[in-house]
């Protein structure tokens, strides 16, 4: 990374998730771990991990990417399009990233993965919508004594919506639209008892598996540093998972009384959107970490991946503690004051081509 015109390294102790920013899936090696967040006045900030492996980050104006390094064509387009979005959230960054990947700018696999992911999300939404509707029919109980298939599902749904609408003080059309909107909001985390896993539960399972792999691997390590890295990574991951699972449980609990949920939706939909989005904010950045670990195929590659991951572990903002009904100690990453011994030349020279290819594979896996 050129050190011309670079601002000083700044401490990085975000108190909110907005301040932490959202990971942007750049493929340029020097931009690994970069986050986007709203700037103080207008536009966006780039939050770039200290490339020397020390604590702190570079915080730069969004348009400074070109001055920092030679971004790939994918990253140029991604940063241009992100600059135009009105709000930064994991879901919006993912949508833009998919659009760029679907064009093929990060390679054939990422293109296909982006197209598949859009289909998968669509299916998740359909399943969640259906389950919410089924739950509403069940909770209202108009057809408790009816035989199966009589009347058909469409009629049951229509009659149930018509029954509940006056209780909420809205029209049946409004209720139907609200149920669809709730399906969109809930689809990333799914609803309790959903037969197939939605994206967030899939990611939770992936992160649990990665932590288990890391722990097994670290038991075979003799160097205290490596064991300490694994401890720190798994500790932050466990905190994150605990809060994310609490968030999912809280959100799922709302569907136990759908008429009540619809009334809340009528009063303050943003509050429900915010609550349902918490697990995504919490887990933002962890899927890349899991796939960096998966890319390592032998012990030396695992050691290198571990160092890279230690640099990328998302800091848990203080806001996370307000989200959980759990007794949590302070963020273990915040106590981490070590310099991670990363070779600064690693992401330049001939290695760039290999690393871009790897980052494109990770992008395909995380679409």
């Amino acid at each position: 990374m050129s050190d011309l015109h670079l601002p000083p390294i700044q401490p990085y102790h975000p108190t909110t998730f907005q301040e932490r920013g959202v990971l942007v899936p750049f493929t340029t090696p020097l931009l690994g771990g970069t986050r986007a967040r709203p700037a103080e006045k207008f536009g966006l900030d780039l939050v770039i991990p200290n490339p020397s492996g020390g604590p702190g980050v570079y915080i730069l104006n969004w348009n400074s990417i070109d001055a920092l390094c030679r971004p790939t064509i994918h990253d140029r387009q991604l940063s241009e399009r992100i600059a135009t979005i009105p709000s930064v959230a994991p879901s919006t960054i993912r949508r833009v990233a998919r659009e760029v990947a679907a064009e093929g700018l990060a390679g054939e696999d990422a293109r296909q993965a982006a197209l598949n992911a859009t289909d998968t999300d669509k299916n998740d939404r359909t399943v969640t919508n259906f389950l919410l509707l089924m739950r509403l029919i069940e909770q209202i109980g108009l057809f408790r004594d009816a035989g199966s298939g009589d009347p058909d599902m469409e009629t049951r749904a229509r009659l149930t919506v018509a029954r509940i609408a006056p209780r909420i003080g809205r029209s049946p059309d409004w209720v139907a639209t609200a149920l669809e909107a709730l399906g969109d909001v809930f689809s990333p985390i799914g609803v309790a008892g959903q037969p197939t896993q939605s994206r967030v539960p899939r990611l939770i399972a992936l992160l649990r598996r990665t932590c288990a792999d890391l722990t097994i691997w670290s038991r075979l390590q003799q160097q205290a540093d490596q064991v300490a890295y694994v401890d720190m990574i798994c500790s932050v991951a466990e905190h994150t998972l605990a809060i994310a699972e609490t968030g999912i449980a809280q959100t799922h609990a709302m569907t136990a009384n759908l008429p009540d949920l619809l009334m809340k939706w009528a009063r303050d939909p943003d509050a429900i959107v915010r609550l349902a989005a918490r697990p995504e904010w919490l887990l933002d950045g962890w899927d890349q970490i899991c796939h960096i670990w998966d890319e390592a195929t032998d012990d030396a590659a695992s050691r290198a991946a571990l160092i890279e991951i230690a640099l990328l572990v998302p800091v848990l903002p203080r806001e996370a503690r307000d989200w959980a009904d759990l007794e949590l100690e302070a963020d273990p990453k915040a106590r981490w004051r070590r310099t991670i011994p990363l070779n600064e030349d690693w992401r330049t020279g001939g290695k760039v081509f290999e690393l871009i290819a790897r980052n494109e594979r990770i992008l395909a896996a995380t679409c």
């Binding site: 030679r70 971004p71 790939t72 064509i73 140029r76 387009q77 064009e103 093929g104 700018l105 390679g107 054939e108 696999d109 296909q112 195929t297 032998d298 012990d299 030396a300 590659a301 050691r303 290198a304 160092i307 890279e308 011994p341 990363l342 070779n343 030349d345 690693w346 020279g349 001939g350 290695k351 081509f353 290999e354 871009i356 290819a357």
Partner: protein, 421 residues
């Protein structure tokens, strides 16, 4: 006197050796697979001996046998028996089986554990190699340091007096095999800096090792680790005056000399650069280039300068040749005479090849011919544009290939022009 059957077998082996000497890569790989399947080490050795340099370049997966695993840490230090002399820091191939049997007997039940791990595995199964190596290498080092009575030594064709010195030298390397292997992989990945603690551990107690063992260790470091010479110099500077210092100084001088002699030889790196899989060449050239630079950086390098110059010239020519061939075969020819439009698999294949070629070119520019590579890449970019104009490539696939060949700025300009067109 040999019986008729033996003479017949020897004649057949000679005939096969002649046939395979000129065989193409694919044929060689088929022969190796066939011989490995037959599991007839003695006959196979005679047939494979002339092909060893090409096999080293092609690196086909071979069954992970006990002896093969035992000698993995020695890399190119295993040589035909005719290239071996007492005191030379190399191992004659004919002793591998005897040492394997001796170690196997010395390890006792642990040998069975190793066999269980390596069963049905190949030389490409890194995890199995590491797992079994962790048991085998230190165990074998302890065993051979005691120089137990050898098993099957008569078949090596070498005098009994040679055994003890070789056993001790092999033990010196095996004792450090895991550290050495870890350092080499760290260097290949490049994410972490040099592990000085591991390097120090490598030379801990070196004064107690035999001269041959020391020589093998230095030769392996110089050959496998791009910046080994620098590290060794650092160690020398730190330990001036100690017994280790004298031994290291002497073995390093000899190691550098041997390595230069090896690189000057037509089989030095020529086969590897010409025949190794494309994805390995860039790394290999970067390693040789770093090594040459480090040797040049030595204070008393003047004596090596003419030799280094000749080696660089040879390496430069080989790199250009491999780059040009690779670019033509993997990109220019398929685009210039396509049978149909480039599909997803073909595009991914071309991108991988161009990436490997850029890795080679980035390393080769350090040796020379920067202008040649620039011109070749420009020509290839023109071919890509022509293919896109002919409808062979979609606009985005063209952009991707231009990015790899000419850089992201050129790709960005093209992308914008295509969007506004």
């Amino acid at each position: 006197m040999a019986d008729n059957a033996t003479i017949q077998r020897a004649t057949e082996t000679r005939a096969i050796r002649h046939q395979v000497a000129d065989a193409g890569d694919e044929k060689i790989l088929r022969i190796v697979a066939l011989l490995d399947e037959k599991s007839a080490p003695a006959g196979a050795q005679a047939i494979l001996d002339p092909l060893r340099p090409r096999l080293a370049a092609l690196r086909p997966p071979r069954p992970l046998r006990f002896e093969r695993l035992l000698f993995m840490p020695f890399g190119s230090l295993v040589v035909p028996v005719l290239d071996w002399r007492p005191g030379k820091a190399v191992i004659p191939r004919s002793v591998l089986m005897a040492f394997g049997q001796t170690v196997r007997a010395g390890l006792g039940p642990a040998a069975a554990d190793i066999n269980r791990i390596i069963q049905d595995k190949t030389t490409h199964d890194t995890a199995a190699i590491m797992e079994a190596g962790e048991i085998l290498w230190p165990g074998a080092a302890t065993c051979l340091a005691r120089t137990p009575a050898p098993i099957g030594w008569a078949a090596t064709g070498l005098p009994d007096t040679v055994y003890a010195d070789l056993a001790r030298a092999i033990a010196s390397v095996l004792r450090r095999a895991q550290d050495l292997r870890g350092m080499v992989r760290d260097a290949v990945i490049g994410a972490t800096g040099p592990n000085e603690a591991a390097l120090r551990r490598l030379f801990d107690g070196i004064a107690k090792e035999s001269v041959e063992g020391c020589g093998m260790l230095v030769a392996l470091l110089l050959e496998e680790l791009p910046h080994a010479a620098t590290h060794l110099r650092m160690l020398l500077a730190a330990g001036s005056g100690t017994p280790e210092w004298a031994i290291l100084r002497q073995t390093m001088d000899r190691g550098v000399d041997d390595l230069l002699t090896q690189m000057e030889h037509p089989t030095g790196f020529d086969d590897k650069i010409r025949n190794a899989p494309l994805h390995e060449i860039g790394q290999e050239v970067a390693r040789i280039s770093a090594l040459l630079r480090d040797i040049e950086a030595e204070a008393d390098t003047a004596k090596h300068r003419p030799r280094l110059h000749a080696i660089r010239t040879k390496l430069d020519a080989l790199c250009r040749q491999r780059f040009d061939t690779g670019l033509t075969e993997r990109l220019v020819a398929p685009l210039a005479s396509p049978t149909r439009a480039v599909d997803s698999a073909a595009q991914s294949g071309m991108e991988t090849s161009v990436r490997d070629l850029r890795l080679l070119e980035t390393a080769a520019r350090d040796i020379g011919s920067a202008g040649h590579y620039r011109a070749q890449l420009e020509k290839a970019t023109a071919t890509v544009s022509a293919a896109a104009a002919a409808g062979i490539l979609t606009p985005v696939r063209q952009v991707r290939l231009v990015e790899l060949l000419a850089g992201p700025e050129a790709a960005d300009a093209l992308y914008r022009s295509l969007r506004t067109a």
